[in-house]
């Protein structure tokens, strides 16, 4: 067992917690392989001779392998890298069978199969990936240095009505949000009017990760990546709406000002009075009905949480603190439709809804219970959850009565306009075509530098994300294949061991089979992680960018309309002047009416 102590010295300069993890990984060697390999020398005394022979065969190999295993090696990244590359050509000759066997035994235990180890890489990866998207959203996470804190912090802060400048025109502007265009430092908290200082979000920090933890423990492994990725995802929608809800010319300058708020530290200083967040979970996908009329229903559970007191409070807008309703997919699409109609044309970004997938749904309708359909359901569930959570943290959309209805009401009127084949669907197609055409034809002189920049950025980002997404998808596929091959190999090894007469070898082979099975598990898990953490994330952002594009387009359209209106107004004015000259007074009145009308439109 002395050899068990070898691995830890390898990682001396790592953090202590890492060391613990290390010990976790390597502390509990499998006894079986140890015995296995130890049996060999006892039963086959000719082994050293044979090994020498094999040493001849592979004498071209480096001694590196043997050396490195014995002594503690500093973890030097470049050195390790060199080690790796050197290993490519060699195999160590087994110079001393005896010492190697205990180490072989100790290493015979597959490190990854440890339950703790299994948790570790996904968790680490979770954290790593979570850190990544969290940091992607610029202002969010500057002040503290605990990654887990930041997402939650952001969600608190982003309830401040910063983008509320343009909501003067919005009748839907909820009363709590400050419909004021003030410079950021003065952004005051309305609503509950609590002045929460900088400390409380920080104290919130530990509690919110704590909140997150129970989630991750209870729900399946995919859910925690979703849940934890989501808070960082929230800032995206927040960030983007800030710049873009200002397509209206009058408020463009103001919006820039708003957007130009200098650092999030300032934002954090004024704490939102809207201390609530909606914790929405979509779960329990169930198949309702049969045949072609079947659909998937999801339970939507909403909990209103008050960050200040960490308990469920009731928000005046919502009837109850916590509720659960059952919704089907077309309901979600209907919600998206309604929100889009109401908000997109004034420049709000509505989070994208998952697409309708005929193939997936048909599979489910045909009640095929295979892995692809469960995967599909899982993907969809996660997408829906993120969709709802994004809406809920958007300060404007959150207060939307439709949204509230969606969350509260037990029965929603059937949203027929979202079905795949219908009159409304055809209408939408036509509208889509028109939109595409107008995208091509309308050329807007981008007078606003900021918007142009942003547009370019968004485009570039989109490109990049698409590339990354493709790569990640490929990677996931490869990993899954690897998992499958490993499984096949495990099976054939097991068969070999069955037909093997030599008992020790047979046992060794069956051990190998078991190990390979575990490795397969690891591979599959890794593939899943990759998928849910990276691939879905990327797809998400690509979707958001699409939504951004739509809003940009709306802006272009409105500019176009405005130009048209101006032109028509000018024409009308000219006509009026002409009439005045020619003295046709009756037409003057008519013209003046039109002028007024167009003036109104211009504004």
């Amino acid at each position: 067992m002395a050899d068990d102590r070898e691995p830890p010295p390898l990682f001396d300069d790592e953090k202590p917690d890492k060391k613990e993890e290390e010990d976790d990984l390597f502390a509990t060697p499998n006894e079986a392989p140890k015995e296995e390999v130890k049996d060999e020398p006892a039963s086959l005394p000719t082994e050293p001779a044979q090994d020498k022979a094999s040493e001849d065969l592979f004498a071209a190999d480096d001694d590196l392998f043997g050396d490195k295993q014995e002594g503690p090696v500093e973890v030097d990244t470049s050195k390790l890298r060199r080690k790796l590359t050197e290993d490519v050509d060699d195999l160590s000759p087994i110079e001393e069978p005896k010492p190697l066997i205990p180490t072989a035994a100790d290493s015979g235990k597959p490190p990854q199969s440890d339950a703790a180890a299994k948790k570790e890489p996904p968790k680490e990866k979770e954290k790593a990936k979570e850190v990544k998207p969290a940091y992607k959203e610029e202002p969010a996470n500057v002040s503290t240095d605990q990654p887990l804190l930041k997402p939650m912090k952001v969600s608190v802060d982003l309830h401040t009505p910063k983008p509320a400048q343009n909501m003067q025109e919005e009748s839907a502007a909820p009363p709590q949000l400050e419909v004021v265009d003030e410079p950021p430092p003065e952004m005051d908290i309305s609503g509950e009017g609590e002045e929460v200082d900088l400390d409380s979000p920080e104290t919130e920090g530990p509690s919110s990760p704590a909140k997150m933890e129970p989630d991750s423990d209870s729900s399946p492994l995919e859910a925690p990546p979703m849940a934890e990725v989501l808070p960082p995802a929230k800032p995206v929608t927040e960030e983007k709406p800030k710049p873009t809800p200002a397509p209206r010319k009058p408020s463009m300058e103001k919006s820039k000002e708003e957007v130009g708020y200098t650092s999030f530290a300032q934002i954090e200083e004024e704490e939102s009075g809207d201390q609530f967040a909606l914790d929405i979970k979509v779960h329990d996908p169930g198949k309702i009905g049969d045949g072609m009329g079947a659909y998937m229903s999801y339970k939507v559970t909403t909990q209103c949480l008050d960050f200040g007191e960490e308990k469920k409070t009731s928000i005046p807008a919502f009837r109850r603190p916590s509720m659960t309703v059952t919704r089907r997919f077309s309901d979600f699409l209907g919600l998206h439709e309604k929100l889009s109609q109401k908000h997109v044309h004034i420049g709000r970004i509505v989070p994208p809804a998952p697409e309708k997938s005929v193939v997936g749904m048909t599979k489910i309708k045909m009640s095929k219970e295979d892995t692809s359909s469960t995967e599909f359901v899982e993907k969809r569930r996660a997408l829906l959850e993120r969709f709802l959570q994004r809406i809920s943290i958007h300060p404007v959309l959150q207060m939307d009565p439709d949204f509230r209805d969606f969350l509260e009401q037990d029965e929603l009127p059937r949203a027929t306009s979202t079905s795949a084949v219908s009159g409304a669907g055809v209408l939408r197609l036509i509208k889509g075509v028109g939109d595409t055409l107008s995208k091509v034809t309308i050329k807007m002189d981008e007078s606003d530098q900021w918007f142009e920049e942003k547009q370019n950025q968004v485009e570039a980002l989109d490109q990049q994300l698409k590339k990354l997404h493709a790569s990640v998808e490929a990677l996931v596929t490869y990993r899954k294949e690897l998992g499958i091959s490993t499984a096949a190999f495990a099976k054939s090894t097991a068969m070999l061991s069955n037909s093997e007469e030599h008992t020790a070898l047979s046992r060794a082979l069956s051990q190998l089979a078991e190990v390979e099975e575990k490795i397969e598990q690891v591979h599959l898990e890794q593939a899943d992680n990759d998928f849910f953490l990276l691939s879905e994330l990327l797809k998400d952002y690509i979707g958001i960018i699409q939504a951004i594009r739509i809003v940009f387009h709306e802006r272009v359209k409105s500019f176009h309309n405005w130009q048209n209106a101006q032109q028509t107004l000018a024409k009308k004015r000219e006509a009026e002047a002409k009439f005045k000259q020619t003295g046709k007074t009756d037409k003057i009145a008519h013209a003046q009416e039109e002028i007024r009308e167009w003036e109104g439109k211009v504004e």
Partner: protein, 420 residues
């Protein structure tokens, strides 16, 4: 003779009078088909190394380095083609009584043509066209795996080793000539017609099911049939794993490049994102290297053994088949004796005795060979399994170390930046 072969195994450091036990060739000491010859030292005993493989046009030339064990100074370097190896095998088979011997299997011909290289690449890397905007990464067929002769070198080396250490085959003149003479031995064209293979297969099918007199052999035949199939399957699956690993490594590297190249934007959030991406891509590179190392190691250890033994088992099957043939001859001869009329009776008896003797000889040789073979097989497998595990663990540990470093770097990455 077994002392001499012992010598070989212990790299020439032992002398002739080495301990008779602790070697797989011990069983050879008795019962060899030439009992009259006293075991004499196995004089030109060689260690062979295939040091290099160079592709000359379409032909691959192998450089062999041979050392005589007794006198270390004598070294021979010769260049051989694959056809020379085939010729050597042919000589060995035809010039020796290989009745009971399991002939070491010659590795398959290396693929040298462009088409075969492409086919191999397809097999290894998969011909999935990746959906994506980048076409250069999309079509993996374009990535042709470079000619890998390393593996062939190893296989040939192992083959020569097996031949040289074989007590009977190792003494053959052809081996000496093959290893020491500079020019390649003149060879006759070896015609492997389809018909011979076909008739062989038919014969095997017909006689293969013939029940054996000896239970030991019967059992052996059954087992070997079963095991060889499984071994082949295991080998196939194992190679699939290795290819899968390689493919994942390629995928990782693509992702890493994409991350690296992606960041063109220099503002605000994106600087941080770029930093993160760069760090992440480094981590991916490490992971990829780890995987590649693993793949190569896997292939060299367990893959190699599986491959070798799946071929070796075929050879064993052939040997057993030969024996079965002899057995049937013997049985036929016995029957003939019974049926023979008196004039022919003597001839029949003689024929039968001859057949019987041959059969007995084969059986004895076969028994020894089989024991030896199994023993060797078990040892080889143990060896390669241990190496496989060791290599895998080591690669995994190294990768783990690198990745944890990367994770730490990612976590502590400074994410402050100036927003727009």
């Amino acid at each position: 003779m077994d002392n001499a072969t012992e010598e070989t195994n212990t790299n020439g450091t032992a002398d002739v009078s080495d301990s008779p036990e602790a070697d797989q060739d011990t069983p050879e000491s008795s019962g060899l088909p030439e009992p009259t010859l006293p075991p004499k030292p196995f004089e030109p005993v060689f260690t062979v190394k295939v040091t290099d493989a160079a592709k000359d046009g379409e032909v691959v030339k192998y450089t062999l380095k041979t050392t005589k064990i007794k006198s270390d100074s004598e070294e021979y370097k010769v260049v051989r083609l694959y056809e020379d190896f085939e010729w050597l095998e042919h000589c060995l088979i035809t010039q020796n009584n290989i009745g009971g011997i399991i002939v070491p299997p010659l590795p398959p011909k290396p693929s040298t043509t462009a088409q075969s290289a492409e086919a191999r690449s397809k097999k290894q890397l998969g011909n999935k066209k990746r959906h994506g905007s980048d076409d250069d990464e999309g079509n993996d067929i374009k990535l042709v795996v470079g000619d890998e002769f390393e593996k062939d070198c190893r296989s040939l080396e192992k083959y020569l080793h097996l031949v040289v250490t074989h007590p009977i085959l190792g003494q053959d003149e052809s081996i000496t000539k093959f290893l020491t003479v500079r020019e390649a031995p003149t060879r006759a064209k070896l015609k492997k017609s389809i018909f011979s293979n076909l008739s062989k297969a038919v014969g095997e099918a017909r006689k293969g099911g013939h029940k054996d007199v000896n239970e030991f052999f019967q059992k052996e035949r059954d087992t070997v049939n079963e095991v060889s199939v499984q071994m082949k399957e295991a080998k196939e699956n194992f190679m699939k794993i290795v290819y899968g690993e390689q493919r994942v490594a390629v995928g990782l590297s693509h992702l890493s490049t994409a991350l690296h190249l992606g960041g063109q934007l220099q503002e605000g959030a994106d600087v941080v994102v770029n930093k993160l991406f760069t760090q992440f891509s480094e981590g991916l590179e490490d992971a990829k290297q780890g995987l590649e190392v693993m793949a190569v190691n896997d292939e060299n250890t367990l893959g190699f053994s599986l491959d070798l033994y799946s071929r070796y088992l075929e050879a064993e099957k052939e040997m057993l088949y030969r024996r079965t043939c002899k057995m049937m001859e013997f049985e036929a001869a016995s029957k003939a004796v019974e049926k023979a009329k008196p004039q022919k009776r003597e001839m029949a008896v003689a024929a039968r005795d001859k057949a019987e003797k041959e059969f007995e000889d084969i059986s004895k040789a076969a028994e020894k060979e089989l024991k030896n073979f199994h023993h060797q097989r078990v040892l080889t497998f143990q060896d390669s399994l241990v190496r496989h595990a060791d290599a895998k663990v080591k690669a995994a540990r190294d990768t783990y170390a690198l990745l944890t470093k990367c994770v730490t770097a990612l976590k502590t990455l400074d994410t402050s930046f100036k927003p727009l």
